[in-house]
């Protein structure tokens, strides 16, 4: 495509340059897609700092988008047609738009493309042409292992969807009692039955007190379910959502409808990841009394608890609030550090030891957050200190002092060495030994009686 044509044109220019070595000095203009400008710098263009900066920004942006995609790669989830527009991706290496119109799973086309050999080829060409490190190839594509896993996950989801369709035609009212004996695969069916059971009496009798009870329990169940990471539950939530909407149409005053509409607005505004969370978030509000009746069993089947590493309820509620304001929890730490940065920006950048302060502050921040182990400084560390008679920088005076110290310790050790090792030998004996041609044995013999 465009990238290929660009590489092709680059190849022709190289050929021309080889063919006419006399015209080596005059380079032809070519367009750099990364910097988005024409240049005549030839192959050395990719080493220029502006190009490197633009490339880093581009790759970081693509990486950010891929991190979103990787979530769906790990947790395959069905795609609702209204979300198809949110799932489009621009592949910077192949210069093509990956749309999800008509695909059944989130990022289906994109994942297929990123795992393809054509993408790998284009990626290699791009990184070779623009720099950026060939060792990063794997971070911009989907490996075969991940792709196979994702395909497997999609298949299981498809199977589950088929069985769900079969069962949803005629739900048996007594089946909710069998929850104890069902396993994860059949959980969705049970849930679907539960929700339908709960909706039928609500629509016919509109029992309001029961609804408030449900809402009380909702808080208990909500975090546990939202912590459940398997794709199956996501699918279940998504499919049940439409049913829930129908069920609660007449219950405006109960507060449930309000929660539904709020969640829907969240869903429209937030990204895919939070999207899935919000769908799960109001999933238990539909699961009413039959669910509560058999809550112990269904919890065992699908819900994460403290042993499976799910966050506690109070944290989950905070997280939900954060989602409402479109802020991920980890942004909290960043905002604190950004406050620090703002504070330090007010200070004069030319103040004494500004570089040291920035570096040390960053280190302390990381130490506080536990990302790095606090470094124990060298026992011989000394600050820069300008001495009375010093000339030059303060670092020099420190070096001077260190040299003095070393010299002092050397002389000290030397005196110790000399005092310890060299015994006193009288002059006469020394002369005698030299006369004997350095016969040490003779000296020893003489010295022994002494």
């Amino acid at each position: 495509m465009v990238a290929e044509s660009a590489t092709g044109s680059a190849a022709t220019t190289e050929k021309k340059a080889k063919a006419n070595p006399s015209e080596k000095g005059v380079m032809e203009f070519e367009f750099c897609e990364v910097c988005r400008r024409n240049h005549d710098q030839g192959r050395r263009h990719k080493y220029l700092p502006a190009h490197a900066r633009a490339l880093a920004t581009l790759l970081a942006g693509f990486h950010r988008k891929l991190s979103n995609l990787r979530f769906f790669l790990r947790n395959p989830s069905p795609l609702r047609p209204e979300h198809a527009a949110l799932n489009c991706l621009w592949c910077v290496f192949c210069s093509c738009d990956l749309r999800e119109d008509g695909s059944t799973f989130a990022f289906c086309n994109a994942i297929n493309h990123l795992a393809s050999s054509e993408h790998l080829r284009n990626l290699n060409d791009f990184l070779r042409k623009h720099g950026g490190g060939m060792n990063r190839v794997d971070s911009f594509r989907v490996s075969e292992v991940d792709f196979l896993k994702w395909e497997k996950g999609c298949e299981t989801l498809n199977d589950a969807a088929f069985s769900y369709c079969d069962r949803s035609i005629g739900p048996s009212p007594g089946s909710s009692k069998d929850i104890q004996h069902t396993l994860t695969s059949s959980y969705m069916e049970n849930f679907e039955e539960n929700s339908i059971n709960s909706l039928i009496p609500k629509i016919s009798h509109s029992v309001l007190p029961l609804q408030s009870l449900t809402n009380e329990n909702y808080k208990e169940h909500y975090p546990e379910i939202s912590g459940f990471p398997i794709g199956g539950s996501i699918r279940c939530a998504a499919t049940s959502s439409s049913m829930g909407m129908e069920g609660h149409v007449g219950l405006n005053g109960t507060g449930v409808f309000g929660s539904v509409s709020r969640q829907l607005s969240d869903r429209q505004s937030t990204s895919h990841v939070s999207n899935v969370k919000s769908l799960i978030g109001w999933f238990p509000s539909n699961a009413t009394d039959p669910r509560i009746g058999s809550s112990g069993d269904s919890n065992q089947v699908c819900q994460a608890n403290v042993h499976t590493g799910a966050p506690p309820p109070w944290l989950e509620i905070e997280e939900k609030d954060m989602n409402v304001t479109n802020k991920a929890p980890y942004m909290n730490g960043l905002s604190v550090s950004s406050c620090n940065i703002k504070k330090s920006r007010k200070l004069n950048p030319k103040r004494v030891g500004a570089a040291w302060a920035e570096k040390r502050r960053a280190e302390l921040d990381l130490e506080k957050r536990g990302e790095i182990v606090p470094k124990i400084c060298d026992a011989n560390w000394l600050p820069n200190f300008g001495r009375v008679w010093q000339a030059g920088t303060r670092k020099e005076s420190r070096k001077e002092f260190e040299m003095e110290k070393r010299k002092f310790s050397d002389t000290e050790s030397h005196t110790q060495f000399s005092s310890m090792i060299q015994p006193y030998i009288s002059k006469r004996m020394r002369i005698g030994s030299s006369e004997d041609g350095g016969d040490n044995a003779h000296v020893k013999e003489n010295s022994n009686p002494l």
Partner: protein
């Protein structure tokens, strides 16, 4: 009394860490011993004003008799006590007070305000990138000592 209010450092690692970790603030290190009358006077002034200058300065006392402090005593050429050394972002700050030694403040301060003025002058100078500042105090309020240098 002052020992209760101000941290007293007696290990090299403690001094190292306070020099390294005091960021964008003036660090005042008082080298001396608590039993000395002039040190007591200075400590009293330091402890009284430490709270007032806490936004732009940190004050710590260093016990000169500690074994591990010998290296700092030698490095900073401390021959008289009390001697006060100033740092900013792990950089030594000098002060030209008309005495022979610009590297440290030897002796005590007359009043609390003198100390605050000196600290403020150092902070303002350091924020402008100056490694040496001139003393804001009039000469009669600066203690004079005859410095005898060993090698001269």
């Amino acid at each position: 009394m002052s020992g209760l209010l101000l941290p007293t450092l007696s290990r090299k690692r403690e001094v190292d860490s306070i020099i390294r970790d005091t960021l964008d603030k003036v660090l005042l290190l008082r080298f001396g011993r608590a039993a000395d009358p002039l040190c007591l006077h200075l400590d009293d002034i330091l402890s009284k004003s430490s709270r007032e200058v806490s936004k732009f300065a940190t004050i710590a006392l260093v016990d000169i008799d500690a074994e591990e402090m010998r290296i700092y005593t030698k490095y900073f050429d401390i021959t008289l006590i009390p001697s006060t050394v100033f740092f900013f972002n792990a950089h030594h700050m000098k002060m030209d007070s008309g005495t022979a030694d610009h590297t440290k403040w030897v002796g005590s301060f007359h009043t609390k305000q003198d100390l605050i003025d000196v600290l403020e002058a150092i902070y303002r100078g350091a924020m402008k990138g100056k490694m040496i500042v001139s003393c804001p105090l009039p000469p009669e309020r600066i203690p004079r000592f005859q410095l005898l240098f060993k090698d001269l």
